[in-house]
């Protein structure tokens, strides 16, 4: 049910999932930038369906047996062609022989363990040769982030984000309180940054990108001002935080508070937040 192009095209192969009509479909961005809709699976689900093999224009196809394989791969872009399979399940469907006409085989992988989510990063891609999304229950401990930072005799602020863990459609609520302002601030932004680190040891490669730049304040505040934060995460293409996936990669998210003064100097404070996926309520 999962393989999209594992065979060479001497014949047409099609796969249908037994629950294909009802299964949720989600968009997936391919390398060429196009988006396709793919079926969505979760860990511990049964993956079952049928596969049919039809030789082209009545030709016969010789084969050394037909098997279906479920792969979980991590692909490092800088190490092109090297796939690390963390999951590999195989079902033998047929013994070696020849196929003259369309032949259909049912298959089933039951309660498949798919520990990691599909992830498309800058340098790393985690894919099942089908798309997997795991839902996490809301974290039981979710404290707010509150911190006082500053530059001596120049700028003291206190900021607060209402949580440290946000789900993908969450809203960041908070405020920035100005304790001391001696510089002329022009504006203040809140950025969401994603830090993706791949490889391990000496080969560790870190890439950071800014996914959101959200203006919080326009103009120069004075001491005592408190500026509200309300940032909806839904418009941004976030993924859950991934920590040390199969020793291959990690994805972390940071909230970066940036103050810019009139001479375009930037003052910032970065704070990690955890992003998780909450089960759709629907």
């Amino acid at each position: 049910n999962y393989i999209i192009g594992a065979f060479k095209p001497a014949c047409n192969i099609s796969i249908t999932f037994s629950d294909g009509k009802t299964r949720k479909q989600v968009p997936l961005k391919k390398e060429n930038g196009k988006t396709v809709m793919v079926p969505l699976f979760q860990s511990q689900e049964n993956i079952a369906g049928k596969i049919s093999v039809e030789p082209v224009q009545g030709k016969k196809v010789e084969h050394n047996g037909i098997k279906i394989e479920l792969l979980g791969q991590i692909e490092m872009y800088f190490d092109r062609g090297n796939f690390y399979d963390f999951t590999s399940l195989v079902r033998e469907l047929d013994v070696p022989g020849e196929i003259y006409e369309r032949k259909t085989y049912p298959f089933e992988f039951s309660t498949v363990e798919m520990p990691y989510e599909t992830y498309n990063g800058v340098n790393v891609r985690l894919r099942y040769v089908l798309k997997v999304r795991n839902y996490t229950p809301p974290p039981s401990i979710n404290t707010s982030i509150k911190m006082e930072v500053g530059i001596e005799d120049c700028l003291h602020i206190e900021f607060e984000y209402n949580k440290s863990k946000y789900h993908l459609k969450d809203v960041i609520i908070g405020k920035i309180y100005f304790l001391l302002v001696r510089i002329k601030i022009k504006n203040m932004d809140l950025e969401i940054r994603r830090r993706e680190s791949t490889g391990s040891g000496a080969n560790t490669h870190v890439e950071t990108e800014t996914l959101a730049k959200f203006e919080l304040m326009d103009g120069a505040p004075v001491r005592g001002e408190s500026i509200p934060i309300r940032l909806f995460l839904s418009p941004y293409e976030l993924t859950p935080t991934h920590r040390n996936i199969n020793n291959k990669f990690s994805v972390k998210y940071y909230l970066n508070l940036v103050l810019v003064d009139e001479e375009d100097r930037r003052y910032f404070k970065q704070q990690e937040v955890t992003i998780y996926r909450l089960a759709d309520t629907s």
């Binding site: 959200f214 203006e215 326009d218 103009g219 120069a220 004075v222 500026i227």
Partner: protein, 790 residues
């Protein structure tokens, strides 16, 4: 060069801003037309991004803002329709917050917020609270002020006021209040902060710009005043203290003055009255440079008008002791602000006075108290130089006059004259004039010598020169006008009681005699006539009452008059004095005081002989003398002869023949007084007339010799008329023959070739002849008498 460049640049930026706005507005419209919410949000946000500029002055920024405002109205309509099409308002409310730039985001949020409240999907108070909180993100003063102004604008009809469709729970008014107060506070902070932005050298320009923006802030107070649910209690306990707290704490002069004034102007008078103490207690806490005087003046002005509006509200004024509170506050302000110019203090007192006059018209002591306080402030500063201050003082001092319309009330104010001391001469005069005009306007009769004394003390600026240096810019016209006023004032002084009236006259005399030569000609005559009025009154009274032991007797009065007129000799104003002497002589005649009358005549004659040298003046004078003398009937033969003889003598000595002629024939009347048989001397009448004829002849000859023309025919005709008069009165010395002769003489003269025709003479002669004819036609004795004349 710098400034024009700057302005040009600004215009350029504004044009660019408008262009950008319009372009995005165009795309937005297209999105609206096709119901494309996503694009509508995108382009509206881009459109609003034009408002992020820092390059425009508030004035130009406003222009841009107004355009955006109009576009946002369309967007709001679209949002409203969108919600009808099924898009939930809460979703919209979230959606607009995805915008990355804060300013467009907040404009959109306010716009959707307005729709949200209208949809009633959430309580108005929650939405308002959220909006006003979120707007904190704009800390740039100008942009923040406009954004919050927008917020105020779109929500002002959606406050959860009592009776409003958005009314909420029990505290609903409080919610509305909180919202407006918070927005007001934040706006004021931004506004005040504006002055610290940018280089110091542009401070003046910035203050000017700030001033342009003040109404954005003040609008909030107006909105507050419009909230139905704010009753007196709420105003006193919440609104006023909160607003004042902000006003005091912002420590900004411009804001404090403007906002205090706003408070005074936008809230109802009755609230001010009931919260006077709270409002006034804020005054000493304001910055020293704040123009508290104007502010308090306006407050008192408002309260005065309120008090004047209806008598029913007055008890409240008493109840809250408004006067004491205001008076107290003013005292504190003046004490606290040592540097306050004197005009400030005077303005304050002036306003307080107006207030007092409106609210406590019966409390003269208040008025005096205010004047006293103000004098206290002035004392030790010498004469005032500040023209604004003196102007203000005139207003201050005029107020009681205008109110009471009665100088007597004002004269009771002990501090009033003290005040006048501090005025410079010019102002003193102005003020004196105001006082006089008030008396004249109201026809106030000042009836005791004491009051007159006090009054003249007040107006002494007009009565005498206050200091020696006679002003260079002496304006004759003004002076004459002033003195005419004084003259009119003197005429107004009157008391029925002769004793008191005499005292009044003495007082006035004392004052005016010190007035100097320029004033006497104006002030003496009214005093003389006023005295003569008294003389006449005395005559009307019973003899026993005005006996000799009474000081107010005619004799005494005439002495006084004599002295007064004598004063004119210093001017000199002999012609005027002569007239007055004659006037007095006539009055003495009516009082049967021959010696007095004789004395006055003597004085007049002396003046004539010694002082009057101008021939024209002599002519006038001699006719006056003759006229007066003719009416005198108390003189004994001797006195009379002396005087008439003199008069005739003067007549014959006039310079010009025609004048001589006319005076002489006028003298004829001195010898023929009707109703006095012993005073009819036909012979001397004829003598006078003949003499006149002789002079006329001489005049004619002289005229013929020198000019070849003649004006003397006129004289002959005039003499003919005199003949006819005495003929008719039965003077037996006037014969028909002489009349006939005269007529013929005139006829011949008029037909003479040498004479240039004189239409006036022709007409006069024709009339005379017609009269004779008329008498003839009458019939009876008269006709008989005239019959022989041809």
């Amino acid at each position: 060069m710098m400034i024009p460049d700057g302005i040009e640049d600004e215009d350029k930026w504004l044009t660019a801003g408008i262009a950008g706005l319009q372009q995005n507005a165009f795309y937005m419209h297209r999105a609206l037309d096709t119901n494309n919410l996503k694009d509508a949000l995108k382009y509206s946000a881009q459109m609003l991004s034009e408002l992020r500029t820092s390059r425009l002055s508030p004035h130009k920024y406003y222009e841009l803002y107004m355009r955006a405002f109009d576009e946002l109205r369309k967007l709001e309509m679209f949002f409203r329709e969108e919600t009808k099409r099924g898009c939930s308002t809460i979703e919209l409310y979230e959606l607009v917050q995805h915008a990355g730039n804060i300013l467009p985001r907040l404009y959109l949020l306010c716009t959707v917020g307005s729709v949200y409240i209208k949809s009633k999907e959430a309580p108005a108070k929650d939405v308002l609270k959220d909006l006003v909180e979120m707007c904190r993100g704009i800390q740039h003063p100008v942009r923040g002020l406009f954004l919050r102004s927008y917020l105020s604008q779109v929500t002002k009809d959606k406050l959860p006021d009592i009776g409003s469709e958005y009314e909420g729970d029990a505290d609903t008014v409080m919610d509305a209040l909180e919202f407006v107060l918070q927005n007001f506070t934040e706006m004021n902070k931004l506004w005040v902060r504006m002055q610290h932005q940018g280089p110091a050298r542009e401070k003046d320009k910035r203050e000017k710009e700030r001033n342009e923006l003040r109404d954005l802030v003040g609008k909030n107070l107006h909105v507050l005043s419009q909230i139905e649910g704010v009753d007196l209690e709420m105003y006193r306990d919440t609104v006023l203290p909160r607003v004042l707290e902000q006003v005091v704490n912002c420590k900004d002069e411009l804001a404090q003055y403007y906002l205090m004034d706003c408070i005074i102007q936008v809230f109802p008078d009755e609230y001010h009255l009931q919260t006077l103490e709270i409002l006034l207690s804020a005054c000493p806490q304001l910055q020293p440079a704040v123009d508290i005087k104007t502010m308090l003046s306006r407050l008192m002005e408002r309260l005065s008008n309120y008090a004047a509006s209806s008598a029913e509200v007055l008890p409240e004024f008493f109840h809250v002791e408004a006067f004491a509170k205001l008076s107290n506050a003013i005292g504190q302000v003046i004490e606290a602000q040592v540097d306050m110019p004197i005009v400030g203090a005077v303005t304050l007192y002036s306003s307080l006075l107006t207030f007092s006059l409106h609210v406590h018209p019966d409390r003269l002591d208040y008025v005096d108290q205010i004047l006293g306080a103000c004098v206290g402030k002035l004392s030790g500063k010498g004469k005032l130089e500040d023209s604004k201050a003196t102007k203000q003082i005139v207003t201050l001092l005029s107020a009681p006059l205008e109110k009471y319309n009665d100088i007597e009330t004002v004269l009771k104010l002990s501090n009033y004259p003290r005040f006048m001391e501090y005025l410079d001469d010019g102002t003193n005069k102005v003020m004196a004039n105001v006082i006089i005009q008030s008396i004249l306007k109201n026809k106030t009769c000042i009836s005791t010598a004491d009051k007159v004394e006090a009054l003249f003390e007040l107006i002494k600026g007009l009565i005498k020169d206050l200091d020696e240096n006679l002003d260079d810019e002496f304006d004759e016209e003004d002076f004459n006008e002033e003195q005419s006023s004084v003259a009119r004032l003197i005429q107004m002084l009157y008391n029925d009681d002769p004793e008191e009236m005499l005292k009044i006259i003495c007082t006035v005399k004392k004052h005016i005699l010190s007035g100097g030569t320029k004033r006497l000609p104006f002030t003496v005559p009214p005093l003389i006539f006023n005295s003569l009025k008294l003389v006449r009154n005395l005559q009307g009274q019973d003899e026993s009452v005005s006996g000799d032991e009474s000081s107010a007797n005619p004799k005494k009065l005439f002495q006084l008059l004599n002295q007064t007129i004598e004063a004119l000799s210093t001017v000199p104003a002999s012609e005027l004095a002569l007239r007055l002497y004659l006037q007095c002589a006539e009055a003495a005649n009516d009082s049967d005081l021959e010696p007095v009358a004789y004395e006055f005549f003597t004085q007049a004659y002396i003046l004539y002989e010694e002082e009057i040298s101008d021939s024209k003046a002599q002519v006038t004078a001699i006719h006056l003398i003759i006229g007066t003398l003719q009416r005198m009937h108390i003189f004994g033969v001797e006195n009379r002869d002396t005087l008439t003889h003199k008069a005739t003598g003067y007549s014959a000595k006039l310079l010009k023949k025609p004048d001589q002629c006319r005076a002489v024939y006028a003298c004829s009347h001195l010898f023929w007084v009707e109703d006095h048989e012993n005073n009819k001397d036909g012979e001397r009448v004829l003598f006078c007339l003949k003499r006149a004829l002789r002079i006329a002849n001489a005049a004619q000859q002289m005229a013929n010799a020198t000019r070849g023309s003649s004006g003397s025919v006129m004289l002959f005709i005039e003499i003919l008329n005199k003949y006819l008069y005495f003929f008719e009165k039965g003077n037996s010395h006037i014969t028909l023959d002489s009349i006939q002769g005269l007529i013929e003489l005139i006829t011949t003269e008029m037909q003479s070739e040498t004479v240039t025709p004189d239409p006036a003479a022709d007409a006069f002669f024709a009339s005379t002849l017609r009269y004779i004819q008329f008498q003839k036609d009458k019939g009876g004795a008269v006709a008989e008498k005239y019959e022989p004349i041809k």
